[in-house]
Symmetry: C2
């Protein structure tokens, strides 16, 4: 870390999820100076001391006050703000935008850390839904691509995929799909994993798409039924065992898309742009699957969390657009 990188730094941003902690050193105008990550997620930490130690371990040198420079403000999103995290930042209710998120920021006593709230969506007649961390990625996506703010559908694939309804710069609602977790759990713990080749992590696009197509053509047979084909196709040697995990992935993502596309239409977003946000390889898979559902050109944005963290810190006055923040703002973030 050079003296000049330190001098340029304005903010430490943290994307602190269940399984991992990613830290971003952010410079003026949200420019990303450095990134680090570690398997120090909220699920392996307990109590303030654990969180302090984890942060020190990953970004201690960033946090060290440089003789000539003020301490950097720190802003964190994700499961760090859950009931069992470092400090609970209660969910902001939808519809919600930057203003509501900033109002919900919570500062951790005795630290320079501010935590972004998650979002709660309560549909009129269905079960509530929640997210934490993705609200910040959405803010970053709208910052990166302002034309999405008026009306768009942002899809964040992952362990728990989120389909987000954006209108007038606000999150009107969203729907979670447990696609990634279902894949992991079924592969590791169900009969479907038994025939899968152990070593195979090679990706087979055609097999993946044949799973997607099975859903497109026969999705009304239901996921609880179609999953069993992962076993029968292996058992009857219709599909090499090396492809079974791709087929499973295709079935699960296919069912997510089938429901998600119907949800999108039902919410009046059928003509609005659909943009994928997340890990590039996974977004590519989703884009390929979306083609099969008649959406030929879904664009993808890589990790927008740093942009979102910067944007929220800016709106909260933790940083300013072109001036080094005063230490009073940095150490006393808004309540």
């Amino acid at each position: 870390m050079t003296q000049s990188t330190f001098a340029a730094a304005r903010l430490i941003g943290l994307d602190w999820g269940s399984t991992g902690l990613r830290a971003f050193l952010i410079g003026a105008e949200g420019h990303l100076l450095d990134t680090r990550d570690a398997a120090l997620g909220a699920s392996v930490l307990q109590g303030a001391a654990d969180y302090t130690r984890a942060l020190q371990e990953l970004a201690g040198d960033w946090m060290q006050a440089h003789p000539d420079l003020p301490n950097l403000p720190i802003i964190a999103c994700g499961m760090v703000g859950s009931k069992h995290g470092w400090l609970e930042a209660p969910y902001a209710a939808c519809p919600s935008g930057v203003t509501q998120l900033v109002q919900g920021l919570r500062s951790v006593p005795g630290t320079r850390v501010c935590i972004v709230p998650g979002l709660l969506y309560e549909p009129a007649d269905a079960a509530p839904d929640v997210l934490r961390g993705e609200e910040t990625q959405v803010v970053g996506a709208l910052q990166t691509r302002p034309e999405l703010a008026e009306k768009s559908c942002i899809v964040l694939p992952g362990t728990h995929s989120k389909w987000v309804d954006i209108q007038h710069g606000q999150v009107l609602g969203f729907a979670t799909h447990m696609t990634g977790e279902l894949f992991a759990v079924l592969r590791q713990h169900s009969v479907l994993g038994r025939l899968m080749a152990d070593s195979s992590s090679e990706e087979n696009l055609m097999t993946f798409l044949s799973g997607v197509d099975a859903v497109r053509k026969h999705g009304d047979l239901g996921l609880t039924h179609q999953l069993f084909a992962v076993r029968t196709l292996g058992l009857t040697e219709r599909m090499p065992t090396s492809g079974l995990h791709d087929y499973l992935s295709g079935l699960l993502i296919g069912h997510e898309l089938r429901s998600g596309m119907a949800w999108r239409r039902a919410r009046g977003l059928g003509d609005a742009p659909l943009v994928l946000v997340g890990e590039p390889a996974l977004c590519r898979r989703y884009a390929q699957a979306l083609q099969r559902f008649g959406l030929p050109s879904a664009q993808a944005l890589p990790n927008t969390a740093p942009a979102g963290l910067w944007q929220l810190a800016l709106a909260a006055g933790l940083v300013t657009s072109s001036v080094i923040p005063s230490s009073s703002i940095a150490t006393e973030p808004l309540q």
Copy 2:
């Protein structure tokens, strides 16, 4: 075991699944004389010696030739006939009835044991499906309720539920739903199990039905989405944690019924009787859920495996309807 029970015995029937072995001592006309079971399923056995020992352990005294009586023939169904079972009895192809099943019987060399084949269903344009053990329960159900043979839908709830299309005394096709396994795997290994009260095995019918109703009303949101409500309803304290497993069960069974009922209509069975076969408490739950789907009076049959095993043994000539089988038939079952 009295001398008279032995004297009345005609057949030993085995329902030998992945996790358990159930043995039935069957008398003239299929009358059930005794039942035993043990956790000696195919998944914990390897090789002929294991199977022989397990059978000896559970039913050794039944198998002992009584001085005055011939050795009893033995007929077995279930995973015992799979590729990794005692001896493979290759799947019979649908459409299939008693005749095809008897043609597919395999006798285990050096024993008096005959194994019933499973069924393979290959739809024209979808993935193949398989079952083992349920074919025998279906034969037993049609024996118990002959009016179902012409046209009916037999549903066998369980780890892997089976929906079976019966027409003209034959199995035309069927569909597996991994409902029970999904429930177990999600409860034990996913985030959905985390908030569930540990000790709760109490059943709450209303909560179960609210899960079923969520599918009935909003099933188009998709299972991958709706499952997440098990977490959010607990997290937001909208549902006591003691009810979450019932709600999960309602969602999964609800999605099975939603797809199963559509499948039934698509196969022209909309007006044919639907009968549940299996464990009474589980069948009761399915019947209650089916009511919500507009089917008020689904009847349930308890375990029909013994009746099916008797019927298949009879058709194979292993036993006769009113005469003690000759030892030559008993020791040399048809190939």
